[in-house]
Symmetry: C2
Subunit: 101 residues, 2 copies
């Protein structure tokens, strides 16, 4: 389930280069709950490629003038929709294979 894409290994300077966003912006989006880096033992933020992609989407929305609060709502909504789809898929698979929990 977990892959290179989700492994948090990229420091903020590299993420800044990769996304074109300032470190200030990246930290601010975290403050607003849009992105969730992990921390090394020493407290340095580390991001995944997935995080980089999310940041690029955030950058697009921000350019359109969408506020961080709106962006967060959208992201939560998309997650809900995705969860619902997964639940349905799970239900169908269970019905088909009569899997036990």
């Amino acid at each position: 389930m977990s892959s290179y894409k989700d492994k948090k290994v990229i420091t903020i300077g590299i993420v800044s280069e990769l996304t074109g966003l300032s470190e200030r912006k990246i930290r601010y989006y975290e403050e607003r709950g849009l992105i969730f880096p992990e921390r090394t033992k020493r407290g340095t933020r580390v991001y995944s490629f997935m995080d980089v992609e999310i940041l690029l989407k955030i950058a697009d929305k921000r350019e359109e003038g969408v506020q961080t609060g709106e962006i967060k709502k959208d992201m939560i909504n998309e997650k809900k929709k995705s969860d619902v789809r997964n639940q349905m898929l799970r239900g169908q698979l269970n019905a088909h294979f009569k899997m036990r929990k």
Copy 2:
């Protein structure tokens, strides 16, 4: 052809954590031509997940007592074998589909 696995974005401290190797060892293996990190504008080494995997293999070999020169030869040999296979595959595909260059 290129993916997250090959993107050089991980700094040496993280690589050290990921592999359990000291930074000294990692730099030394580069010196001996076993690993090829890129550099950021500022000169900091950056590695890919593929590099991390290569380093783990190197660590195994070293534990077996294999010297860096031997390890390098082995790696070059494996690459040659892989290249030969790819050439053959390419040849068969070309013959089958009569592809032009």
